[in-house]
């Protein structure tokens, strides 16, 4: 074999993802192989073997690799030198690249890639291997974390199943970042494929050799991981490598339940049990995946009931009906929790689905919820699981206390257990829990966690919110605010605080249906319109209010959906002004008189209200 006459013609760095370095060679004509694919085992001995190209990986330092004629193994002509950059090197974050041929080589007669390496300091090479051809990389094999030190040492990468490598183009690749943020240099020499009788006991594994069992359902995909192949090296130690799925032949024991692709992706296609196993060559791989398929997922056919509570009385965590507050996570994946969460749509409605639910933590610590003014906690759940007693579903709320963080001695919580007949199978159940029932939850000003648990492994969850159920009182419980305006600046129609216009008729008969009374609210005389359709006020005398700015009103209504106030001058000329109803307690308003144009402000004779509901009025005056 020609070992020493290869010369580097040069290299160039095109723009793009990687830089391509080309090596040419002189080749002895007697080296020519008659085989379709050459079996040349040499990669780098005293120089590069024929037809080898180099490409630096994207993001790496393109010039990290050089041929070194000073530092070499056994004073040979050349070695490969790699300069790993420092952290934050502007040229690239790491050193990495692959050596590949244009024409594949038949490496099936070898069982190992061997090379020698040393480094300027103790280091762990991130990835070293072969089979990276910058294309499909079907038969990539790598070792992660290869320890090198300042002495030359030989390393051996066993080939998991050499029969696969009959047209391999990826001869060698590496990738290494800074060690403790510091760059350094390493050298590699004598890189070649070999057939070693001292490599023995090849084994292969999927799932790291474990026999795993999963519950799954139709449509789910599971990627087989933990692919390793191990052989015992001449030194008596086992060396594991990471092969690609293409080295394996995967088998499903029941393809009507699960199929498995050549890349190790399992697809669930039916109900029942199946076992996924694998072979590498003629060797059975250890590890298996037993699939218990429940078939198609059972899910609600209809959306959860749409909430009817007014948004103003709700703090919503999850509902399409409301604007939701931020929730950090709907599955904290706490230790021992088996819950999986899926965000699904049921009849166009967003729903959270939990599977394998034993318990699940839901956290909103970034922005805790102050539910002090709320009275109830609401959630809708749907489960396909049996709900007959004593099966239960538990709802726990956790308050982080004044420090707003977990711990610190001020956390409080309480858990409520729900059973049939509230629980039901395969129907939406609306759960409304009075917050007073959470007796241990002595504060709810810094709620930060919700924990769901119980005997229902499958739960669809929707409309999670706090709300205030208190029905507003039909009658004000407090008096209208006492006016602070100076009596000298006021022309008053109806107020205890001022002298009112004499002889005003508060209930002129204009054919209205409104029932007008005067009632004492917290000792304060108040004008009440019951069953308003419209209602006039006939002033005791014509009023010139052109020097005033505002009409002041205090009004209170729990049930009105429409309320307008009018000023009227002779003609009659009248203009309405719309008031916001229902009110939140007493509403005090100063209406600019300009709003009533073209009413003649120098000659006001009447006021009028129309709308609906029961209205309480007080402190009607111009100011």
């Amino acid at each position: 074999m020609n070992k020493s006459t290869f010369n580097i013609l040069g290299w160039f760095v095109p723009a793009g993802i990687f830089a391509l370095l080309l090596f040419g060679c002189e080749r002895d004509i007697t080296d020519l192989d008659t085989a379709t694919y050459p079996t040349n085992p040499e990669v780098f001995i005293n120089g590069f073997s024929g037809g080898l190209n180099y490409a630096a990986f994207g993001g790496s330092v393109p010039t990290a690799f050089n041929v070194d004629n000073e530092v070499t193994l056994n004073n040979s002509a050349a070695a490969m030198r790699f300069e790993v950059p420092d952290y934050n090197d502007p040229r690239g974050a790491y050193a990495g690249g692959t050596y590949f041929t244009g024409v594949g080589r038949d490496l099936s007669g070898y069982n190992a890639l061997t090379f020698w390496a040393k480094a300027s300091k103790d280091a762990s090479l991130d990835v070293v291997g072969f089979g990276n051809d910058l294309g499909a990389n079907r038969y990539t094999v790598s070792i992660n974390g290869l320890n090198v030190n300042t002495n030359w040492k030989q390393y051996i990468i066993p080939i998991p199943d050499p029969s696969k490598l009959n047209t391999e183009r990826g001869m060698f690749f590496y990738s290494e970042g800074p060690e403790d943020e510091k760059g350094y240099t390493f050298w590699i020499d004598e890189v070649k494929f070999e057939k070693l009788g001292t490599i023995t006991k090849p084994t292969a594994a999927i799932l790291n050799g474990q026999d795993n069992t999963v519950t799954a359902e139709i449509g789910e995909n599971i990627t087989l991981t933990g692919l390793t192949a191990t052989a015992n090296l001449p030194s008596g130690v086992d060396q594991s490598v990471n092969p690609t799925p293409y080295y394996y032949t995967f088998t499903s024991s029941n393809t009507s339940v699960a199929t498995v692709s050549e890349t190790g992706i399992v697809t669930i296609v039916g109900a029942g049990d199946a076992i996924i196993t694998a072979q590498m060559g003629n060797t059975a791989a250890s590890g298996s995946l037993t699939i218990n398929s429940v078939g198609a997922a059972i899910q609600p056919s209809a959306a959860a009931p749409t909430p009817t509570v007014d948004a103003s009385k709700v703090i919503s965590m999850f509902s399409n009906a409301y604007t939701n507050v931020p929730v950090d996570t709907w599955n904290t994946r706490w230790l021992y929790s088996t819950a999986e969460e899926f965000y699904v749509q049921i009849a166009g409605d967003d729903v959270i689905r939990y599977r394998n639910l034993n318990f699940v933590g839901i956290e909103f610590t970034s922005q805790t919820i102050d539910a002090t003014n709320m009275t109830h906690f609401h959630l809708d759940i749907w489960t396909p699981d049996p709900t007959n007693a004593p099966k239960n579903f538990k709802v726990q709320l956790v308050d982080f206390g004044a420090n707003n963080t977990y711990g610190g001695g001020d956390d409080v919580s309480h858990e409520i257990t729900i059973t049939a007949p509230v629980l039901a199978t395969q129907s939406w159940v609306s759960i409304n829990i009075p917050l007073s029932n959470f007796s241990g939850l002595t504060s709810r000003a810094h709620l930060a966690q919700l924990v769901l648990s119980g005997d229902l492994p499958n739960v669809y969850l929707d409309n999670v919110y706090f709300y205030n159920s208190a029905t507003p009182p039909a009658v004000p419980t407090t008096a209208a605010p006492t006016p602070t305006d100076s009596p000298a600046n006021v022309i008053s129609v109806f107020s205890n605080a001022f002298t009112n216009i004499p002889a005003t008729d508060l209930n002129p008969n204009w054919g209205q249906g409104t029932v007008v009374t005067q009632v004492a609210i917290a000792g304060n005389n108040t004008l009440k319109y019951a069953g308003l359709n419209y209602q006039g006020i006939q002033l005791g005398s014509n009023q010139n209010i052109s020097t005033k700015q505002f009409l002041h009103l205090d009004y209170w209504t729990a049930n009105s959906s429409s309320l307008k106030v009018y000023l009227i001058s002779p003609g009659p000329i009248e203009t309405p002004y719309t008031l916001t109803v229902p009110s939140t307690g007493w509403a005090s308003i100063d209406i600019p008189l300009s709003s009533f144009a073209p009413v003649d402000l120098s000659n006001i004779i009447q006021l009028k209200f129309d709308g609906n509901g029961d209205i309480y009025l007080d402190n009607i005056y111009f100011k």
């Binding site: 009788g197 001292t198 023995t200 006991k201 015992n232 001449p234 008596g236 130690v237 086992d238």
Partner: protein, 278 residues
Amino acid sequence: MKITNKPTNIQAYAITLLLAITLWGGCKPDDFQKLDKRNWVLTWSDEFNGLAEELPDTSKWNFNVGTGSGGWGNQELQYYTDRSKNASMDGEGNLVITAYRESYAGSPFTSARINTQGLFEQKYGRFEARLKTPYGPGLWPAFWMLGSTITTEPWPQCGEIDIMELRGQQPNIINGTLHGPGYSGGNPISQSYAMPDNRFDTEYHLFAVEWDEEKIDFFVDDYLYQRIERDDVSGEWVYDNPFFIILNVAVGGNYVGFPTEQTPFPQKMIIDYVRVYQ
């Protein structure tokens, strides 16, 4: 650092030579290294044909139990037990001595060591065992003999004949060794036999000595790789007494170093038979 001795003329690589002999067909076996068959008469054997998990035949074998003195004199790490877990038949015609990485009676490993002391001892003859070795750094399997006079004469005066020893980190090399007065411990008379591209843990190999009043010949697969004659011994020739046989798998110790995290366990020495001829 231990450096394997370079091969001498009689320690040439067996594979190469045997292959050459086979290919050249007409050539005679090497007069020196392929000895003529002799009329050996079987005097003792154990074919290990018991049922699976059966302990070694108590009429032929004793167990050494425990940690010995100073790890059997070698700072070995294992605890030798007499459990079938560590030494028993496999039901397929073999005795299996198995070393485990397990905490037992204060030791980090268990294994087994059996001997024929007081049950079978013989002076001169051919002693052979067909076996597969364990492997891995820190494993030290051995098929060897001690002089029966050890009950009255301390080692090394009693003499020791190591028919096969192997360091698990070099599973392609075995050693045949004599320890006697003036040439023991780190300074014995020893020769290694290496397979350049194969290992002793993958297939069965036959390890033997042929011993008479003049010499001891060491064989692997009937290939003579070492002859030690009475005159070759720098000290006293102490091989004119009956010797007894020992089989063991040590873990760690002066000879082999410590096992590493990467050493695979459990490790087995699988012995097809032990035969002795006169």
